[in-house]
Symmetry: C2
Subunit: 350 residues, 2 copies
């Protein structure tokens, strides 16, 4: 019974079904199912025949149907506060590489405009019964959210920073920031300003705090005592870097000879604004960032590099391994960072 030709009432929307293939190949649907999924216990000749028929009919299994039958969607979700920013778009590409290689789909949940009511994501649209695992980018999750996720029992991992209560992958922010500040100290700078990430919002959660801490520690160890007002916040964007520079430069008194920025984008903002103010980089002002943004090399920006794509790729691999039954595959890991010397840092003017 039932070829796609003689299909009933609701939607003819479904195309070629497994029954059509079975009928055309003269076998049962069970055998077709086994054959197309490459399962064993199908004779070579039968499989061959079925594959041919399936191909000629253009058969593709309905993901809804197999999802319903197996309880798996073969889709993993990526939760991101933004997509059009360097870290996030790179991470998405990295995750996608692994997903593509292992034949999974990628469902993107962007908090961008609608960050406020992320509640909804956890209730309706999202997560629940739509994805097999969740990759969270640079966000802290609330207690409730984590609990909710935990209850659903889907593998979960956070990329881009430390977050309590669950596995995470990211660079050692303390070490990375320390390296950056120490580089400035080593060059002989004593008046070092800081443009850090906002730690009011949950974006990047711990990350800003840790980087600030590292700055303070390195400064203290070097016997340096930054001016109040030389610590400005930003939100990791170019624009906020520009603003921060202006606030620092408009301060009365002497100027810093170097600025450490918690992201390359902010560093670029500082550099553009410095240029506008006629401040020579690195002659009068050294600038260092963190990230190694796509534009950093072209701008000659000295930075501490990280690779969000690799981080997300690894995280995705762990998620998929866990789904493949490798219990314990998902675990925290520290990603590498590396100081890259370029043209925006130099010893302070004598």
């Amino acid at each position: 019974m039932a070829g796609s030709s003689e299909r009933s009432q609701r939607g003819g929307h479904t195309g070629i079904s497994i029954e059509d293939v079975a009928a055309a190949a003269g076998v049962s649907t069970a055998t077709v199912s086994r054959a197309v999924r490459g399962l064993p216990k199908v004779s070579p000749v039968t499989r061959q025949k079925i594959l041919e028929v399936a191909a000629s009919l253009g058969y593709v299994a309905s993901s809804s149907a197999s999802g319903l039958a197996t309880g798996r969607t073969r889709t993993i979700g990526i939760l991101a506060p933004f997509v059009s920013r360097w870290f996030f778009s790179k991470a998405i590409e990295g995750a996608d590489r692994e997903l593509y290689a292992r034949n999974y789909n990628l469902s993107l949940y962007n908090l961008g405009g609608h960050g406020g009511n992320r509640v909804r994501l956890f209730d309706k649209t999202m997560v629940y019964k739509q994805i097999d695992a969740l990759l969270v980018l640079c966000m802290a999750l609330s207690h409730e959210e984590l609990e909710h996720l935990h209850k659903i029992e889907i593998p979960l991992i956070v990329v881009g920073g430390h977050v309590e209560e669950c596995s995470y992958i990211g660079i050692d922010d303390y070490a990375a920031a320390s390296v950056a500040v120490q580089h400035l100290v080593d060059l002989g700078h004593r008046d070092i300003a800081l443009v850090h990430g906002d730690n009011q919002t949950d974006l990047n959660f711990d990350v800003p705090r840790v980087r600030i801490l590292a700055y303070h520690d390195v400064m203290r160890k070097a016997g340096l005592d930054p001016q109040p007002g030389w610590e400005q916040w930003g939100d990791f964007t170019l624009l906020s870097g520009q603003d921060a520079f202006r606030r620092i430069w408009n301060l009365p008194g002497r100027k810093p000879t170097a600025i450490f920025c918690a992201s390359d984008e902010m560093a670029m903002g500082v550099i553009f604004e410095a240029a506008r103010a006629g401040v020579n980089v690195p002659g009068e002002l050294s600038v260092i960032g963190i990230d190694d943004h796509d534009f950093s090399e072209a701008m000659g920006l000295t930075t501490v590099a990280q690779r969000p794509d690799e981080q997300a790729e690894l995280a995705t691999k762990m998620l998929l391994d866990e789904l493949d039954g490798h219990v314990g595959a998902v675990k925290s890991a520290v990603a590498r960072h590396e100081l890259i010397l370029r043209a925006t840092t130099a010893p302070p003017r004598a």
Copy 2:
């Protein structure tokens, strides 16, 4: 009849089902289905009761099951050659706004690393029975692909340029490029170079060609005759802009006094490289791009602005309207562009 507690053989992975809710509320599954979907013909009191029970149980409908029953996945696919480039990430954010507002999911198909074998996307992973509609970003589809898509009968639209045989949304590339070149001509430039997009690859398909054509037309009408070698190709990236500048500047003979770049990123590459070569912008060299990239304002880059997010948002709206039964909702449209004068263009030196 089954509560999630007494569930059989395969996976207990499924959580609370509609039956659980029905049982707890003392109604049939049919009524629960109507109630939770906000359908009419449910008495207020019944609905209220059901909603309460559903909420307390944390019930969420299985997308696989409803997908199977309705033939709709409530997911639209976005096909992009890259995600970590300005146009694409912005477009994704724009599409997401509309999708989120209308409670659809977003499935991302990135051709990034694996662009070569995009075949697979159309066969296996993708499209077929996984998504209700497809948004294509800046790519030409082959005849077979289009036919395939057409056969599946899912709404389809292309954003970011003209493509034959299907609806598309994008700026008028000819007009936009003309405005840019004309701006240089109006400033008095006669020696105008071009850094255009690659038209070998299918990325942006028609777009590069049309922009080149506009350049030629405007030049000819102005009675200008560009040097051979002043036309360099790029691939829309910063790096390729740098390379192009070097190739142009290394040419023997006189230098152009202005360069029109087919994208802001390439324009930035030209500017960075010009700075490195000690060429003053706009003193010795005017530079104009197309896009109005996030960084363009900070860099003072004169450009012809476009808004990929708005384009994708509109395209998505059309797709969803079509799915809502508004036949003919999907149709081609021209998006706006606007010349933005900033600091990288000026009259040529006397």
